[in-house]
Amino acid sequence: MTEVEPAVASTANRLCPAMADAIAQEMRADERVVIWGEDIRTGVMSTTRGLHAEFGDDRVVDTPISEAGFLGAALGAAMNGLRPIVDIMYTSFTYVAFDQLVNQIGRAQYMTGGQVSAPVTVIAAAGACGFAAQHSECSHPMLMNAGGLKVLFPSNSHQAFWLTRAALRSDDPVLVLYQPSLASARGEVGPHPLGIGDVQVESHGSDVSIFAIGLMAARARRAAKQLAAEGIGAEVVDVCTLAPLPIAALTDSLRRTGRAVVVDEARLSCSAASEISATLAEHAFDALKAPIVRVAVQNVPIPYAPSLESHVIPSEADIVDAVRRVAA
């Protein structure tokens, strides 16, 4: 499923700077690529840092706080020869522009019978970051359900670089999401490309598969190391492509282990964890040695107080506990 060719790998060694480097490389290679958003010249969200200095006012454009306006304009620009990137800061902010994102951008290709494509890339932080419920949404389940959007959710620098590049080279609308507390997470960008449809597997054994997204994937990797020390071998499947869901990659892992824990920072109801669990059950029920366990946020908005916030978000310990139960 890898769509990208090998290229000079990035020297960026943190997650958001790796995204910024992927953007800069594409902007150098293709003058149709432009980036719009709020406060992107200053690079408040480090996804855009350095771009304005190199590419200037025409291609790196600070917008007013008009999410519907500039997302809709991005569609028009995409239809008329540009390849716009929109940095919308937080997926929480897509809600004020959901018509433009879902109903306009996400439907253009289908509703026009293929006359129009919408090569728009939307970058946004998704997940808890200490700013309370209106900034903390993990909106990826809604976006996965939109029906015309591709959704990527890198959790490390390597994924961030290669998946951002894949998004920019896609002729479809793609969202590239990242958990804000991972924005500065250290990590190298390796030489092996990832594309839309890929997941990243890190194996510590074949007792159980942990399917996890974003910050939960980072926590699952740590949990797997702890579990390995206890003698439980876990395979972490970082589901960095959420839509279209890479079904074969998910079931392949389950067939190796027979047990599944699915971890998501979204609310449990209709979460990505729910979709992944249902998919595993439908496609590989015969491989299951134990019931699938979902670990997600209870059905509440994300609270502000750090103590409450960390209480509702699945922790490394929550993941370890769930795996122990499934592996028992």
């Binding site: 432009v34 007013p64 519907a68 304009a73 569609l75 620009a77 008329n80 026009t112 019978g113 015309g148």
Partner: protein
């Protein structure tokens, strides 16, 4: 300043045909509806408003892109779309512009400068801004045009777009087709202020009002806005005041007299242009009859061909969500 009489002499007969084409195209849909035909989904007609479509499209160049509302058949025809493929789309046929996936409210043909129609009131306004921005960024002198109704003038999309268009000095023309009704509600009951066009002032861009039942007046307003846009001087808002003769959509006759009065058809744009041509000694009345005959023949054939066209393959429902 173009002399009105000269303009009518030069282009009046073409415009008369264009107005009549739009009217007849839609009258044939009314006919189908009255026959109880099952081939129609929701259709929103612009009968009575044809002067806006023909006046707006008259001076557009190839490469200019427009976004239109759910009431957009007139603009599509005036832009040169094939009536047979439009009918086919409305009837949900494979040969329609969108292969039957869009229907009346969503006919598009970017190749001919109709980037899209919209089922969401105001939904296409920001898109037109992006079309305009891309046109100028690519170094062309093409423009983007959003045509929307009075209902859309009360959505935030218009204000977000006007602000950004003014900041960018984008080659954008915003055409509000004020037909007196926002869906099933008289516009005056839900719209504040002395006129929608006056709202442009807050953004420091020209706002003008045009007689939306006069193709010449619409064309002149549009020509001025196009000159401004192509010269790099930025956007214009034009409010075209017109009259919706039909309901919000075909089939809402049961509400006639409830939310709407009998339409005032005294400003019929076809009558007015015919009269003006007569006054100029160009035999408007005779030309009108001939144009009507041509339109009926051509459009009846188009409609019948579309009715005979095949349904889409069922498999297509599951394809074309993504390019890759």
């Amino acid at each position: 300043m173009v002399q009105r009489g000269e303009l009518v002499k030069r282009r009046g007969l073409d415009w008369l045909q264009a107005l009549i084409d739009v009217r007849v195209f839609e009258q044939q849909l009314v006919e189908l509806h009255e026959q109880g035909s099952a081939v129609l989904g929701a259709v929103h007609l612009c009968i009575g408003q044809e002067a806006v479509a023909v006046g707006v499209a008259g001076d557009l160049a190839p490469g200019d892109q427009i976004t239109v509302s759910h009431r957009g058949h007139g603009l599509m025809l005036a832009r040169g779309l094939d009536p047979e493929r439009m009918y086919a789309e409305i009837f949900g046929r494979a040969t329609g512009y969108c292969g039957g996936k869009g229907g009346s409210m969503h006919i598009a043909c970017p190749e001919l400068g109709v980037a899209g129609a919209n089922g969401i009131v105001g939904g296409g306004i920001p898109m037109a801004l992006g079309l305009a921005r891309a046109a100028s960024q690519r170094g062309t002198d093409n423009v983007g045009v959003a045509i929307f109704g009075d209902g859309a003038a009360n959505t935030g999309n218009l204000y977000e777009t006007m602000n950004l268009a003014a900041v960018w000095r984008a080659p954008l023309i915003l055409v509000c087709e004020n037909n007196g009704y926002t869906e099933f509600t008289p516009a005056r009951d839900v719209t504040a202020g002395p006129g929608i066009y006056t709202r442009a002032a807050g953004f420091g861009i020209p706002g003008v009002v045009a007689d939306g039942e006069d193709v010449v007046d619409v064309n002149l307003a549009m020509a001025a806005a196009l000159r401004r846009a192509r010269a790099g001087d930025g956007p214009t808002l034009i409010e075209c005041r017109t009259t919706r003769w039909r309901g919000h959509h075909e089939g809402d006759e049961r509400y006639a007299g409830v939310y709407r009065e009998a339409p005032d058809t005294s400003g019929d744009p076809i009558d007015r242009l015919t009269h003006e041509l007569d006054q100029l000694g160009l035999d408007g009345s005779g030309e009108r009859a001939a144009a009507q005959t041509r339109a009926r023949t051509r459009l009846r054939n188009a409609r019948d061909a579309a009715l005979a066209a095949p349904e889409p393959e069922l498999e297509t429902a599951f394809t074309g969500v993504f390019v890759g």
